[in-house]
Assembly symmetry: C2
Homo-oligomer: 106 residues x 2
């Protein structure tokens, strides 16, 4: 039995620009994406976002459903990473330019 199980993955040709933009058009979700861009991968509880767990889970769910992130069970934690390759192939420049815009606010 494997200890790694992918929670969800959206095929490249199923990615929707509307869903991706909606997923990114929120400060909490954009912060999650910004941190994953820096860290590569990160467990759900390690983002330092002060918010009830249920609300945070909701944001992760939207990011997963849109295909912006992919999550995997690794033992008892859920690890997240950007689905960068597929996003870049499908909508070139969108994630990169939005992340650059998000970094301006720092």
């Amino acid at each position: 039995m494997s200890t790694i199980k992918q929670v969800t993955a959206k095929a490249r040709n199923e990615l929707s620009l509307m869903e991706v933009l909606h997923a990114l058009a929120d400060p909490v979700r954009l912060e999650i994406v910004r941190q994953l861009d820096e860290a590569g991968e990160k467990a759900c509880g390690m983002f330092g976002i002060d918010m009830p767990k249920s609300s945070l889970s909701h944001h992760f769910r939207i990011l997963r459903r849109s295909g912006v992130i992919v999550s995997e069970h690794q033992g008892t934690v859920i690890m997240n990473r950007l689905q960068r390759k597929d996003l870049d192939a499908r909508f070139p420049g969108v994630l990169k330019s939005i992340l650059a815009g998000a970094r301006q606010k720092d």
Copy 2:
């Protein structure tokens, strides 16, 4: 008296990435933006979008408030255009990459 009056304009440094993404994360608003990208400028009634006028006005309002478009009274019509220069200066590549993604669906 001038017959041209700018309805709204958002200063470059007031543009918000969240507001811009929210404005673009809707199929009707993205279609308006796509048509303005092609046409340069266009009157509110000329987009060929089958929708009640009040709903369409709501979408134009969101696009204006976000600073994605600028509108001007020209006599009896309201002419719209993208606020491309300021958007590109503030968030380089965002509008261009999203428009490219939107064109894929044609």
